[in-house]
């Protein structure tokens, strides 16, 4: 039997507001432990929360970007559970009346757009950070001491819940890339997973392909990169399929993903189900955003990453479009093409060489010149130029003056020397392994210290091996 994965995600995004969700303490990394605290976020007697207006607006903005309906009336509730990272004994969180509901995100794929339902996006406060010392389990049970840093406590957190519409780890990764890019472009979060600014839990089940049933699901936690999310989903899907195929059942359970081993460890089952005793937070008033505010925020939305991917696809293939858009590189690409560079080479240079760079500082005109000259100038010159293209006042001119060696008379002896030195590879190439062309070109480039014209070398090698 073939099986289909059914995955829903719960994504927590920390908002980078200047102050915390319910008090005016600085939000974000700062001084030493417990320095960004006050009576409110420490839960002192009598201290009261006051909602952060910016966080409320950003939540609405995110909801609109995810195609959600914005609730005319959203209500914060108290969610109770006892833990030292929760100073009030309850977390303030939207519950049955969240700010954003019924949205959808389109994930562009090779066989059309996949629609993923956004069940809800709601605002809550983050818990403080516990460090369990001793005991070796990383949990409070067995620890000799638990240290609590309340700096993180009260950080605004939006939880985005998808429907069970994701059917592969790859689709999950694509959705998350789009979501991350969306919040980054809205300017509401830096969404860095290693800093915990974006956290993902996955609810995973499987079903016979073609069926529409929803079987018992398991929750995966602690996957702090998109790669680990994909690995975790794959591992859990395989585990569930193996269980069903051996005639066993899946038991609802929560698993922690261990990045070091790739293994899933079940959390100790609780004796009783959680009862959070939710009720509307009486210290806060309902949130009733005006229609004007919602429309103003809607007007401020940038074009969505998914729409831009579809637009870029007109000139590029899907994969390149995805890489450019989810890497925040597509604006530079467009400007560089507009400045005269060809689409695909510009995409390759930007995606391969400028990912993660401060692309806002790059002059598209100068970059376009480099892209167009990439085969003509020595590789060393190109590397050097791309390495300093983000510097203020960068000019391509000095690099463009350099010429790569394309004189056949000069290159031929080197090519022959390389072919002679690698008889095994030569035989393999002639036997059909044409991918080895790159190997020979690389050897020649190495030999010439990067000054040879790669295209000329490539033609020469092919000629000699015919």
């Amino acid at each position: 039997m073939s099986w289909e994965a059914v995955v829903g995600l719960e994504v927590h995004v920390q908002l980078k507001t200047r102050t915390k969700m319910f008090c005016r303490c600085a939000n974000g990394f700062g001084g030493g432990e417990n320095t960004q605290t006050c009576p409110v976020c420490l839960g002192f007697p009598g201290a009261l929360p006051v909602a952060n207006r910016t966080a409320l607006e950003w939540t609405v903005k995110l909801g609109l970007a995810l195609g959600c309906e914005i609730a005319e009336r959203a209500v914060f509730a108290r969610k109770h559970y006892p833990y030292p990272d929760l100073p009030k004994g309850y977390q303030i969180s939207q519950y049955d009346l969240p700010s954003c509901i019924n949205g959808k995100v389109l994930v562009p794929t090779a066989d059309g757009d996949h629609e993923i339902e956004i069940v809800r996006a709601h605002l809550e406060e983050d818990a403080a950070k516990n460090t369990h010392v001793g005991g070796g389990t990383g949990r409070i049970g067995g620890a000799s001491t638990t240290l609590v840093d309340f700096n993180r406590g009260g950080t605004p957190l939006v939880e985005i819940v998808t429907g069970p519409d994701i059917h592969s780890s790859e689709e999950a990764r694509r959705f998350l890339q789009l979501l991350r890019q969306t919040v980054v472009e809205l300017g509401i979060s830096d969404a860095e997973m290693e800093k915990g600014q974006l956290r993902v839990d996955a609810n995973v089940s499987v079903r016979p392909a073609g069926s529409s049933e929803l079987r018992t699901r398991c929750e995966l936690k602690n996957m702090n990169s998109f790669r680990f999310v994909a690995q975790g989903i794959d591992a859990e899907v395989a585990r569930q399929i193996a269980l069903y195929e051996s005639g066993e059942e899946v038991v609802q359970e929560t698993y922690d993903f261990d990045a070091a081993t790739g293994a899933l460890t079940a959390r100790r089952s609780k004796e009783e189900a959680d009862d959070y005793r939710y009720f509307p937070e009486p210290d806060l008033v309902p949130i009733e955003p005006s229609a004007e505010l919602v429309e103003r925020l809607r007007g401020e939305l940038p074009e969505s990453p998914a729409a831009r991917i579809r637009r870029l696809e007109a000139e590029l293939d899907l994969d390149r479009a995805v890489v450019l858009v989810t890497g925040g590189l597509d604006a530079l690409w467009q400007a560089t093409v507009a400045a005269g560079a060809k689409s695909v080479p510009a995409a390759n240079v930007i995606a391969n060489r400028l990912a993660g760079a401060d692309v806002g500082a790059v002059s598209p005109g100068e970059l376009a010149k480099l892209v167009e000259a990439r085969d003509r100038i020595p590789r060393t010159a190109l590397d050097e130029a791309l390495g300093s293209v983000t510097q203020p006042g960068f000019s391509a001119a000095p690099y463009l003056e350099q010429e790569a060696v394309s004189d056949t008379a000069e290159l031929a002896p080197i090519v022959e020397r390389i072919l002679d030195a690698n008889p095994g590879q030569v035989a393999a190439y002639r036997g059909g392994k044409e991918g080895l062309l790159g190997f020979f070109v690389g050897q020649v480039m190495k030999e010439t210290g990067g000054t040879a014209n790669a295209r000329a070398v490539s033609e020469l090698v092919r000629e000699k091996l015919q």
């Binding site: 009598g46 201290a47 009486p282």
Partner: protein, 467 residues
């Protein structure tokens, strides 16, 4: 020699303005009175020796956070807790120059109607020390009555200002919900808690209300408040007063209480008020049971923070869970434990709709029923407490009997409405309180009516045995 037993806050202000006494002398006079009479009464949990401010001094109920001054809410679990910040009301008193006399006794977390639930021993009624001063704000009420403070602040959830004021012969206002900041006030039931003034007369009460009332950016539930008018007229001409049948004829109202209240209603008529009967059937029948779902539910949540981790009592143990359990077991008295259990049950999955959810729906009914009455009347009147001060220990073994003390104060609290207690006579030598209830933000009307009635009644607020 300052006679703190008789001195009103307004008179004290006159002495200060005419420089007949200094702020420090006035403060000292009250502390001397405390030294003399409080060993018997136990109004104060602690006093403050150094006055900060030159104005009329004030007593604050110990649920109000005071920077640098221990604040326990009458509970062992907060023993030794010294706030690092002032409650907004404490800060407003400070800004007005009112030096703190001390922190007054209260039922633990303001849960009670007799101040017998304080972890620090009961307060005694200055009119008859074998009797309770009411609660939960028995400390403030008894202190004002016994001349141990010219005025003070209490907090009222279901009657904790009005009922002790009635039993001690003071004027006490529970303001409209949202007019006075709750920031820094140890929370009992957030949707019901309100801070309010207790004083010897209505003008003092209005003056103190004007100091503490007003929108506070730190409390989202506060609203803008109309300017307070100090009452000076003695006529009630044009005022329409409703007498809710159920609240004046309820089972358990003592005949002496009914008699004093009827007399006050008669006086109101003589002063020009139009008096008519009205009905609040569902408010009276369901007010108390719904209150005892909503208040404990919110209390169970508000008291969740007392876990021994950050402040107050901690009973050490080998694990976090055991530490929290032992701390809460040792730190909370019976009444908070009872209400935490009731409240957690009312909020738990599967019971929420039947209990907390249903009670909130009934609360809407109570709001509407009062609103309908206020279409015909400017104010409603009833006894504040069904009884005069009862003997210490008389109801401690029977929580339900104790809860009934608030039968008449609770309905308007549930509707978020302001209520004023004005003493209206004695029954068996003990004060009887008249409750005036108005629509939202009608404090000026309450003050006007209360002032006129107070003049006409001529009640002497000094306990007979201390005269």
């Amino acid at each position: 020699m300052i006679d703190t037993l008789r001195l009103t806050a307004e008179e004290a202000l006159g002495l200060l303005e005419r420089k007949e006494v200094s702020g420090a002398e006035l403060h000292r006079a009250y502390l001397d009175a405390v030294a003399e009479r409080d060993p018997e009464l136990n109004c104060y949990l602690r006093t403050v020796d150094e006055p900060a401010g030159d104005n009329v001094p004030i007593a604050l109920k110990d649920v109000i956070s005071t920077e640098g001054v221990e604040t326990t809410a009458g509970s062992k679990i907060l023993e030794g807790y010294v706030p690092v910040f002032d409650a907004t009301v404490a800060a407003r008193c400070k800004a007005a120059g009112l030096p703190l006399l001390g922190k007054t006794n209260t039922d633990e977390f303001a849960m009670g109607s007799s101040t017998e639930n304080s972890a620090y021993g009961p307060t005694h009624n200055p009119w008859s020390p074998g009797r309770v001063p009411g609660g939960s704000g028995g400390g403030t009420a008894a202190a004002v009555s016994a001349g141990l403070a010219p005025w003070g602040l209490g907090s009222d959830t279901g009657g904790s200002i009005k009922q002790p004021s009635a039993l001690c012969g003071n004027v006490g206002l529970r303001p409209t919900y949202g007019t006075v900041s709750r920031y820094g006030v140890v929370a009992f039931a957030s949707s019901l808690d309100q801070v309010g003034p207790v004083a010897k007369n209505v003008r003092d009460c209005a003056r103190l209300y004007s100091i503490i009332a007003g929108r506070d950016p730190a409390d989202s539930t506060t609203v803008d408040v109309p300017d307070v008018e100090l009452p000076d007229r003695e006529s009630l001409k044009g005022l329409r007063i409703g007498v809710p049948k159920e609240m004046n004829e309820a089972e358990g109202i003592e005949p002496g209480v009914t008699a004093a209240v009827q007399k006050a209603i008669e006086l109101a008529r003589e002063l020009g008020a139009k008096v008519g009967e009205c009905e609040l059937p569902r408010s009276v029948e369901y007010g108390l049971p719904c209150y005892y779902l909503i208040a404990p539910a919110e209390a169970s949540s508000n008291l969740a923070r007392y876990d021994g981790v950050r402040y107050g009592l901690r009973v050490e143990a080998g694990s976090y869970d055991t530490m929290v359990e032992r701390t809460r077991d040792a730190g909370f008295g019976d009444e908070p434990k009872r209400r935490i259990m009731l409240g957690a049950y009312a909020l738990s999955a599967g019971y929420y709709e039947a209990y907390y959810g249903q009670a909130q729906k009934v609360r809407t009914v109570i709001v509407r029923e009062h609103a309908a009455a206020f279409e015909r009347f400017d104010l409603l009147v009833s006894p504040t407490s069904p009884t005069v001060a009862f003997e210490l220990g008389a109801k401690t073994a029977d929580p339900l009997a104790m809860y009934l003390s608030d039968l008449l104060t609770i309905p308007s609290c549930m509707a978020g409405l302001p209520g004023l207690n004005v003493p209206c006579g004695l029954s068996d030598g003990l004060p009887v309180g008249l409750q005036l209830i108005g629509p939202q933000l009608s404090e000026n009307t309450l003050f006007r009516a209360g002032h006129a009635l107070e003049r006409a009644i001529g009640f002497d607020p000094v306990p007979e045995r201390l005269r």
